[in-house]
Amino acid sequence: MSETLSGTAVDPFITGPGVDDDVLVRVENLVKYFPVHGNGLLRRSVAHVQAVDGVSLTIRRGQTLGLVGETGCGKSTLARCIAGLIPVTSGKVYFQGRDITNLSRRTMQPVRREIQMIFQDPYGSLNPRRRVGAIIGDPFAVHKTATGAERKRAVQDLMARVGLNPEHFNRFPAEFSGGQRQRIGVARALALRPKLIICDEPVSALDVSIQAQVLNLLADLQADFGLSPRHPYSAALLSAAPAADPDAAAERQRIILTGDVPSPINPPSGCRFPPRCPKAQDLCATDEPALEAKASDPRTHLTACHFPVQEGEILARADRRQQR
C-alpha cells in the first residue's frame, strides 16, 4: 500500500498550527481499510486491505498538489475519501476549516458544490445513454442553480470554455473522441465553480498528444478560475513523457526498484518499504520512521525515513542506465 502516501508524504504545510484562512483542505491521519470477506456463510471480514494508512496533507487556495505512487497504492482511494464518495475508516478531512469527514449525504450536499472530481476514464465516466448537454447540466439540475434556457446557456458557455463546439450539446458521448470526452468531464466539474477539483489521473487514459492539450486546458482554467487541481500521478506522467532532448533522455538515470511490492493486507512492520528500498537496514524493519524535517531536507520538505538520501549521494542500485 501507501508506498508514497505513508512513507514520503511531501507536505510543507502540515506543521503549520492554527487556523489559516488560506487553507482549503486539510487531511489528518486519514485511514481507509477495506474489509476482506471470508467465504463462510456469514462472510465475516477476515482481513483488511490497508489502502490508505495515515495520510496527512494540506492544500491551500490556488495550490496544486501532485500525488505520486505505484499502481494500487491508494491514490484514487484517497481522492474518493476526500471527495466524500466513500466512508473513511479513521482520520479527519477538513474543508475550509469545517470537518467534513463521513457527513451524511444531505449535510454533504453544500460541500459537493465546492469539491468536484475529474475522473480517470473519459469513456467510463460519462453516461452513454445521456446527452452531453444533460451530463454537463447535471450539477445545475442537482443543485437547482439554473433551469431551462438559463441552464442551456450555462452549459453552452462551459462547452465553449473547455474547447467544445456548443452546438454539440445534443450529442451523445459516443460521438466524441477521448480528448473531447475528457473536456466534457472537465466542463462538468467546472459547472458549479468549485473551490477544489480532484483530478484522478485525468489524462492517463488519453493519447500523449491529447494529454498535453488537456493538461494545458487544466492549467489555463486554473489561472482563470483560481482553482486548485490536484493531479495524482502527474509526476509519473512527467517522468514518462518523452524528453525534448534525446541526448538528455539517454543520460537520464533511473532508480529501478527490485523486489515485491509490500502486501496491503499484511504490510511490513516498521517502515513500509524495506523489501524494495536500496538503503534499508535492520532498523527499518522494526521502527516506523516519523514524518519530520531532516538535516538533508530543504526548508519546506519533510521526510519519513531513518536513512534519507543525502545531497549528491548516488544510490547503490541507481547506477543502471534506463533500458530502451
Binding site: Q116, L126, N127, P128, R130, V142, A174
Partner: protein
C-alpha cells in the same frame, strides 16, 4: 478469411460504439437493424392487424349483423342443433354450439386478450423495474429482503393461487389481471436487479454521486436509461406470455367469465365439439397462436437489433439471410458486421 480480416472484424466489434460518431445514436442503429429484419417487420404488421381486428370488433358485429352474445338458433345451427361450418348462412368462421358467430366472438376475444396482455405487462414492468432498481441499487438488507420476495413470487404455484382466488371470489377480469401481474413482475425484477448491480459500479454513477445526486435521481435518471433496452425486450416477450396465461385461466374456467368471449374460454367450450366442428377449435387457436408468435418474434428481433453479436437460428427467409451476408461483407457499414465472427463473411454471399 485471413487472420487480419478476423482481427479487423474483432476490432470492429470492440469499436461498435464508436460508429455512432457518424451521428447515429444507439437507438437509431437499433431501429435501422430492426427495419432490415424481415421477420420483425412482418411481426409488427401482424400485431398491427390483430390490434385493428380487435378495435374493429363492433364494426364487424355491425357488418355481419351478429351481436357478440346473440345466439342464432335458426341460421347458426343445423337441423340436429350442431354448430354450422364456415361460410354457411353468412357465418364467415362458423358458429358455436348455441349458434353465435365465431368471427365476432374471436374479434371481441382479441380485445380481452390484448387488453390483459398489454395492461398486465405494463403494470408488471413498472413494478418489476422499480423493485429491481431499488434492490440492486440499495443492496444490503433491502436487497436481501426483496430478492427473497422475488424468489418467493417465482416459486409460487400460479394455477393453485388462481384456483383459490376464483373459488373464494367469483372469476373476474380483475382477478385475471391481478394474478398475471403478480407472476410477471418478479422475472423482470430479477433481471433489472442484476443489471443494476453491475451498472451501479460504473464510473459515471460515481460521477453522479460526486456532484451530489441522490439515490432516486441516480436510479431513474442515470441507471434506468441504460436498462431500457433489456426491459423493452423483456416487456415484448411478456405480452404473449400474459396472453397465453389469460387464455389458460379462461380455458380452465377461472378466467374471463362467460358470456364475455375470450380466446381461452372459447377454446374451453370447443373441447366438446372438436370431433364434429373443427372450425370451433382451429380459428380461436390460430388467433392465439398468430398473436403470441408475432409478439415473440418481434421480441427476438428487438433483442437481436440491440445486440448484433447474437445470431438467431431462424434468421428469416433465405433471401434475407443472403442479404445479411452481403451486408456483413461490407466492412464498417453496419454494426452487425460483428456477426462476421460467428459466420465468416467470406463463407457467404
Amino acid at each position: 478469411m485471413s487472420i487480419t480480416e478476423v482481427q479487423f472484424q474483432a476490432t470492429a466489434v470492440q469499436d461498435a460504439p464508436a460508429q455512432a460518431i457518424e451521428g447515429r445514436s444507439q437507438w437509431q442503429l437499433t431501429w435501422r437493424r430492426l427495419r432490415n429484419d424481415n421477420v420483425a417487420v412482418i411481426s409488427v404488421v401482424v400485431i398491427g392487424l390483430v390490434i385493428l381486428f380487435a378495435l374493429a370488433a363492433p364494426l364487424i358485429a355491425h357488418a355481419t349483423g351478429h351481436g357478440v352474445d346473440v345466439a342464432f338458433p335458426n341460421t347458426g345451427e343445423d337441423a340436429s342443433g350442431q354448430p354450422v361450418g364456415p361460410g354457411t348462412h353468412g357465418f364467415l368462421l362458423g358458429t358455436d354450439e348455441i349458434g353465435r358467430d365465431l368471427l365476432v366472438r374471436i374479434a371481441y376475444g382479441a380485445r380481452i386478450s390484448l387488453f390483459v396482455g398489454i395492461l398486465t405487462t405494463a403494470i408488471a414492468t413498472v413494478a418489476g423495474v422499480s423493485i429491481g432498481l431499488i434492490a440492486g441499487y440499495f443492496g444490503g438488507l433491502v436487497d436481501t429482503f426483496l430478492a427473497r420476495v422475488i424468489d418467493a413470487a417465482l416459486a409460487f404455484p400460479f394455477i393453485v393461487l388462481a384456483l383459490a382466488l376464483a373459488a373464494v371470489f367469483h372469476p373476474s377480469l380483475a382477478i385475471v389481471i391481478g394474478v398475471i401481474t403478480f407472476f410477471s413482475w418478479a422475472g423482470i425484477s430479477r433481471i433489472v436487479r442484476g443489471q443494476t448491480l453491475s451498472l451501479k459500479e460504473k464510473e459515471y454513477i460515481e460521477a453522479a454521486r460526486s456532484i451530489g445526486a441522490g439515490p432516486w435521481r441516480i436510479m431513474f435518471i442515470d441507471i434506468l436509461p441504460n436498462l431500457l433496452g433489456p426491459v423493452l425486450v423483456l416487456a415484448t416477450l411478456y405480452i404473449p406470455t400474459a396472453v397465453t396465461f389469460e387464455a389458460t385461466l379462461s380455458f380452465l374456467g377461472i378466467g374471463i367469465p362467460e358470456p364475455a368471449p375470450s380466446w381461452g374460454n372459447i377454446l374451453g367450450e370447443a373441447q366438446s365439439f372438436y370431433q364434429t366442428s373443427w372450425w370451433y377449435v382451429v380459428f380461436p387457436a390460430a388467433a392465439l397462436l398468430i398473436t403470441t408468435l408475432a409478439f415473440n418474434l418481434l421480441g427476438d428481433g428487438i433483442r437481436d437489433a440491440m445486440d448484433p453479436r447474437t445470431e438467431r437460428i431462424f434468421a428469416g427467409s433465405k433471401a434475407s439471410r443472403r442479404k445479411r451476408g452481403k451486408r456483413r461483407g461490407q466492412a464498417g457499414q453496419d454494426a452487425d458486421l460483428g456477426m462476421g465472427l460467428v459466420v465468416p463473411a467470406g463463407g457467404e454471399g
